[in-house]
Amino acid sequence: MAETALPAPQPSGARPRPLLSRRNLALYGILILLALFYLLPLYVMVVTSLKDMAEIRVGNIFAPPVQITFEPWVKAWAEACTGLNCDGLSRGFWNSVRIAVPSVLLSIFIASVNGYALANWRFRGSEVFFAILIFGAFIPYQVMLYPVVIILRTIGLYGTLTGLVIVHSIFGMPILTLLFRNYFVSVPEELFKAARVDGAGFWGIYLKIMLPMSLPIFVVAIILQVTGIWNDFLFGVVYAKPEVYPMTVQLNNIVNSVQGVKEYNVNMAATILTGLVPLVIYFLSGKLFVRGIAAGAVKG
C-alpha cells in the first residue's frame, strides 16, 4: 500500500491525565478528607468503647486508649441493665434475630410470588390491585399505628414476636412487591410463554425459571428487609413487650437509663454491637446490591 502523508502527526484530543496531576491530587485529597470526616464518629465510638471510665473522664475523646479494655463490650453484651433484666443486649440481639429472620423470609416469599403473579399472570383487576398495594407505601405509619394495635390485641398477638413478624411482613409488602414485579416484568415474556408450552405451571415457572434468574433482586430484597427490620424502633417499641423488645429498643433503654453514672464506654459498645448486623451485611453484599439495583436496566 502506498504511504500516505498524514497532515497532522499529533493525535487530536486531550492526552489522558497522569495519576499524580494537580487535578487528581485535589480531587482525591478532598474525597479522602470527606471520607475521614464521615468515619470520625465511628472512630470515636470504637476508641471510647475501649477505654475505662477513668480515662474517659480525662476528656479527650479523640485520643486512643492508653489501656485497652474489653470490659465495656462484655458488660454491654451480657450485664447491662434495662428495667428489671440485667442480662445485657444479648437478649435484644436474639429477639431481633427471632423477629428479623421469619419476617424477612415470609415477606420476601409472599412479595416475590405477588410480584410474579402481577407481572406474568395478569388477571382481571390485577392493575387495580397493584395500584392499591402501591398506595399502601405512601400511607404514613403513624396513621396505622393504633389501628394495628387494636387488630393485634383482638387476635391475641399484641406484645408477641409473632405479632411483630406479621406487622413487619405486611408493612414490607408494598415496596417489595413493587421491586419484584418490576424485575419480573423485565424478564422477556417469550421465556414465560416457552415455559408454559413446556408444561410448567404457576409454581413450576416460579421455582424453575423465574427464581434461578432472579438472584440479584432477591439479594436486594434481603438487604432491604434485614437492615430495615433490624433498624426498626417504632414497631418494636409499640407492638412488643419488654421481654421481647428488639435490640434497638433495648439499646435505647440502656443508653437512656437515668439512674447512676452514664457509662459512655458501655453505651458506645452497645451501639456498635447493635449496628454491626446491617454493617456486616452492607460490607459483604455491596457488590451484589449494586448489581441487583442496576439489574433490569441492561438487557440480557
Binding site: 417469550e190 408450552v197 434461578p212
Partner: protein, 360 residues
C-alpha cells in the same frame, strides 16, 4: 385430514377486535405462513392457536380435537420464538429436556429424542453449554430443537429468523425448508413479516391485515394474482406500481385509459368489468415493464432515476404524469430525462376496482 382448524375466531380487548371472526384450515403436513405488517394480528393468531392467549369467541381444533380451552402443553404443539426464549440458567440439554421432564417422559425416551434432535440440528457439541455461550444461529437451533423433542404434531414458529443477520437468516431458512421435508407429517404455522421467507418456505401463505386474512393461497397465486390492493402492494420487492385510470370501451374492446393513452385489456387474466368508464387501478410489477428506446412501439415515458440493485437496475419513470417502476438490465444505458417507450405485460398485470380495492 385437517391438522388445524380455526373457526370464527374472535379476540377482543375491550371494544377493540384484534381478530375478527377469523377462519383458517391447515392440512396435515402443510407449511403455512402468516404474513403481514406489524400489528396485523399474525402473532396474536399464532398465540391463540398455541393457547397462550385466551380467545373471546370461536373454536380451535388441532388434529380434530377441540382444544379451544386446553392448556398449551396439552395441545400437541411445539413453539419457537423470535427471541429464542431459552432458559438462561439451564444448559442446552436442560432446555431441551425441561418440557419432557414436566411431562414425565421416561429417561430412556428423553435421551433418544434429545439425541435425534441434536443430530438433526447439529447441536451435539453444545449440549452441555449454557445459551449465553452460543451464537445467535446456534441459539435458534436449540430453540427449534426444544420444539422438536416434544414430538408434536404441529410446530408454531413466531418470527424465528427475525433476530438473525441476513446471511444467517438465509442459511437457516434453507435448513428449515429441509427440516420440513424431513418431517413430512408435521404441520407448520410460521409467522413472519419477511415476504422472501414467506414465498420461499410456504405451501400456502395467509396475508393478514387488521386481524383479517386478506388472501390465503399458494405463493405463486399470491404473487401473480393478488386478491386486493393491499396484498399486491405488500408482496413483491421492488413493489408493484399502481396506475390510476379508467376502464373504457374502444372499438377494439375494453381498454385501460390513462390520460390520452389506451392500454388494451384483451389479454388480461381476469374479469374486465362490463360497465363502461369505470375508475380502476392497474397494478404492474417492475419486471413486467419493458423499456424501449424512443419511437419503438409502446407508451411514451421519461427516465427519472436509476437504482442499481446488483443483478439488475430499477428504473423510475414518468408516464402520463404518473410514476412507474421498471426492471432493466444493468447495461440499459439510459440517462436521466431521456424519453423512452414502455410496454406493459397486461397478461401478468392486475386490475383493481378503485372503490372496493379488490382484484377484478
Amino acid at each position: 385430514m385437517a391438522s388445524i382448524v380455526v373457526k370464527d375466531l374472535t379476540l377482543a380487548y375491550g371494544s377493540v377486535n384484534v381478530l375478527n371472526r377469523l377462519n383458517l384450515d391447515v392440512a396435515e403436513g402443510e407449511f403455512i405462513v402468516l404474513l403481514g405488517p406489524s400489528g396485523c394480528g399474525k402473532s396474536t393468531l399464532l398465540n391463540c392457536i398455541a393457547g397462550l392467549i385466551d380467545i373471546t369467541d370461536g373454536q380451535i381444533f388441532i388434529k380434530d380435537r377441540n382444544v379451544t380451552w386446553e392448556e398449551p402443553k396439552d395441545r400437541g404443539i411445539g413453539m419457537v420464538f423470535q427471541s429464542y426464549a431459552l432458559y438462561p440458567q439451564m444448559t442446552v440439554r436442560g432446555n431441551l429436556t425441561f418440557g419432557l421432564k414436566n411431562a414425565r417422559v421416561p429417561r430412556a425416551e428423553i435421551d433418544r429424542r434429545v439425541r435425534r434432535a441434536a443430530e438433526m440440528l447439529q447441536i451435539e457439541p453444545f449440549l452441555d453449554r449454557k445459551p449465553a455461550a452460543l451464537s445467535g444461529g446456534q441459539r435458534q437451533r436449540v430453540a427449534i430443537g426444544r420444539a422438536l423433542v416434544r414430538d408434536a404434531d404441529v410446530f408454531l414458529f413466531d418470527e424465528p429468523l427475525s433476530n438473525l443477520d441476513a446471511k444467517l437468516r438465509a442459511e437457516l431458512r434453507v435448513e428449515l425448508k429441509r427440516l420440513h421435508h424431513n418431517l413430512e407429517s408435521n404441520t407448520i404455522v410460521y409467522v413472519t413479516h419477511d415476504q422472501i421467507e414467506a414465498l420461499t418456505l410456504a405451501d400456502r401463505i395467509a396475508v393478514m391485515r387488521g386481524g383479517i386474512i386478506q388472501q390465503l393461497d399458494v405463493p405463486q397465486t399470491i404473487y401473480n394474482k393478488p386478491a386486493n390492493l393491499f396484498v399486491a402492494g405488500f408482496i413483491g420487492s421492488p413493489a408493484m406500481t399502481f396506475l390510476d385510470g379508467r376502464v373504457v370501451d374502444t372499438p377494439g374492446g375494453k381498454a385501460f385509459a390513462m390520460g390520452g393513452t389506451r392500454v388494451p385489456l384483451d389479454l388480461y387474466d381476469g374479469e374486465v368489468p362490463t360497465a363502461s368508464d369505470r375508475p380502476a387501478i392497474l397494478g404492474v410489477r417492475p419486471e413486467h415493464v419493458t423499456v424501449g428506446t424512443e419511437g419503438s412501439p409502446g407508451i411514451p415515458a421519461t427516465m427519472d432515476l436509476d437504482e442499481p440493485m446488483g443483478a439488475d437496475n430499477l428504473l423510475w419513470l414518468t408516464m402520463e404524469g404518473q410514476q412507474i417502476r421498471a426492471r432493466a438490465t444493468a447495461d440499459h444505458g439510459l440517462r436521466r430525462g431521456q424519453p423512452v417507450s414502455l410496454l406493459l405485460d397486461i397478461a401478468k398485470a392486475s386490475l383493481f376496482d378503485q372503490e372496493s380495492e379488490q382484484r377484478l
